[in-house]
């Protein structure tokens, strides 16, 4: 079995009586897209929070590149190579698209303690930011204020900011949400290529995208992984059909 880039081992998390994560163990292999699907309230957001460090599991551990990161803060996991995009865009809305991308590059460089030079005129930061914007197709919007972008464009910018860090693993929380079919299609193609650079843990509602992209799928219901397998295995899994797809289709 290949080395896992990112994995959770038996993590549990409760909020009062609600058991949002029950012994979840999932892994992300190099080069793959591993999708996590499940009905609303299944605990996907809680799972992502624990992987990225905004929530601490009650028990179990999170490992990144073989290292136990359970006790590390979000920013420390980011520095180790975890790239994340948010379900609800969390960008600096008053800033321009380029400024947001430069922020990502600045985080990758790790040294914000410069008080005099113009950040946008720093060659290294700017090149990194611009090439990330170009990859997601936002190069023509570099000077646009982020608040003026469409929802879909904000998703693209989220991905671009994550790209500036050249992460070792991506965690993407519903990157397709709010995108038109054209946008989803382009992003699908882009993620398809991206997996060879770094594997992607993809939480997504858009089933067309999930079935088109995923190498493996885990199904989360009531805080529990009820099945993990290839697209075909999941499609034919009786428990999944009953618990999830049956209701949805």
């Amino acid at each position: 079995m290949t080395e896992l880039v990112l994995e959770t081992q038996d993590i549990c998390k409760s909020f009062g009586a609600l058991r949002a994560s029950r012994n979840i163990s999932i892994g992300l292999k190099a080069g793959e897209i591993h999708a996590v699907i499940g009905p609303n309230g299944a605990g996907k957001t809680t799972l992502i929070g624990q992987i990225c460090g905004t929530l601490k599991p009650d028990s179990g551990s999170v490992r990144l590149l073989g290292e136990d990161v359970t006790q590390l803060a979000t920013r420390e996991r980011a520095r180790l190579g975890l790239g994340r995009t948010f379900q609800i865009s969390s960008l600096a809305m008053e800033d321009t698209v380029l400024q947001n991308a430069v922020l990502g590059a600045l985080g990758a460089a790790g040294n914000p303690w410069r008080f005099w030079q113009d950040a946008l005129k720093d060659r290294a930061l700017r090149e990194k930011a611009e090439s990330a914007l170009e990859r997601v197709g936002l190069q023509d919007h570099a000077r646009t204020r982020t608040a003026e972008l469409s929802h879909g464009q904000r998703r693209q910018l989220e991905v671009a900011v994550a790209l500036t860090k050249e992460p070792r693993a991506f965690v993407m929380d519903e990157p397709m949400a709010g995108m038109g079919s054209e946008g989803s299609k382009r992003l699908t193609e882009f993620l398809d290529e991206l997996r060879s650079e770094a594997p992607i843990l993809l939480v997504e509602h858009d089933m067309d995208a999930v079935f088109a992209l995923a190498d493996r799928i885990s199904v989360l219901v009531y805080g529990e992984v009820i099945a993990t397998g290839t697209v075909d295995e999941i499609r034919s899994d009786a428990a999944v059909r009953e618990a999830y797809l049956g209701e949805d289709a």
Binding site: A73, Q99, N100, L103, A108, P112, A119, K165
Partner: protein
């Protein structure tokens, strides 16, 4: 944008033209008023770095203003009484030299900002406001009980401190000094707002989780911003003490914190020139309204209320028709 630039240029122009006129018309009081405005502007620029860029609603900036003031008061008091400030662990003498006083003011207020900031930034939101306000009050009561330096009555300094090559007793020369410092502080703040640090701090205000996710620590960014902010306001406090040749616990009071914030709000939060225009407007209001009525704070209160309820963006926002700062 263009109108805002005109307005900024006009404001700086006023800081040159009004004193020039006052000098020719032999109106030293007007020069004193302009000095006051320039010093208030520096204090508010300090707050603008924490509040405008970093989003830290500090109601305790009087602490730094007061520390700057007492740095001047204590050093000059010992110099004029020929007593040492301290004999242990090594001999420290008082001084009448402005550059040394400024340096001490900046260092001590930075240290205070570091300690207060480290404690206050353990929390956010309303807690931060209440804690900074409380620490301000702590310094206020401490100086009142500090009998060695005048307690409640404060300290008077007989002669303004000196600056090499200048006669600081001449109002226009002292004003010139304050104006140069104002311009330098403006230049620094402008560079800072565009620098990598400024970019990250700006983002930490708008979306702290984003800053975390790119691998930076928003709390540390805010702490450093708070320290820089405190240092600049501390420098203003030292200048203010030298303008009045007097320091008292009032410099530490919650009203002083509120006033520094008002300078900023009147002009426009987060705008480079906001504090400058606000401080000038405040001194003008204080002079004119204060001449019309003993109760001019009522009018100030009403004006402030109107700005908050209807005109966020301050005077610059109203004049330029843009609510959001910078481009």
């Amino acid at each position: 944008m263009i109108r805002e630039t005109y307005l900024n240029t006009l404001t700086l122009g006023l800081f040159v033209l009004i004193p020039a006129w006052a000098l020719m018309a032999d109106e030293p009081f007007t020069i004193t008023l302009m000095t006051r405005a320039a010093i208030f502007a520096i204090a508010a620029i300090g707050l603008n770095i924490a509040l405008g860029i970093g989003g830290l609603v500090s109601l305790g900036h009087a602490v730094f203003f007061g520390i700057g003031g007492y740095a001047m008061g204590i050093l000059a008091y010992h110099a004029q009484t020929y007593t040492p400030v301290a004999e242990w662990p090594f001999l420290i003498d008082g001084t009448k030299s402005m550059p040394i006083i400024w340096l001490v003011a900046v260092i001590v207020s930075s240290l205070a900002a570091f300690v207060i900031g480290s404690l206050s930034l353990r929390t956010t939101g309303v807690y931060f406001i209440m804690i900074t306000l409380a620490f301000g009050q702590m310094f206020f009561f401490f100086t009142i009980s500090w009998a060695e330096y005048g307690g409640e009555d404060g300290l008077s300094i007989y002669l303004r401190n000196g600056f090499p090559g200048l006669n600081t007793l001449a109002p226009i020369q002292f004003y010139g000094l304050c104006l140069v410092i104002l311009c330098l502080v403006l230049l620094f703040t402008w560079r800072l707002s565009k620098s990598p640090f400024g970019l990250a701090l700006n983002a930490a205000r708008q979306a702290p989780i984003r800053v975390e996710t790119v691998g930076l620590d928003p709390t540390r960014l805010k702490l450093i911003a708070f320290v820089i902010s405190g240092a600049i306001t501390g420098l203003a406090g030292a200048l203010f003490a030298d303008l009045n040749r007097f320091v008292s616990p009032t410099m530490f009071s919650w009203q002083t914190s509120g006033e520094i914030m008002i300078f900023l709000i009147l002009g426009g939060v987060g705008r480079l020139y906001g504090p400058v225009i606000g401080a000038l407007a405040y001194v003008a209001l204080e002079h004119w309204l204060g001449g019309l009525s003993d109760y001019w704070h009522i009018y100030l209160g009403i004006l402030l209320l109107l700005i908050v309820l209807f005109g966020r963006g301050g005077l610059i926002g109203l004049a330029s028709g843009r609510k959001v700062a910078h481009d």
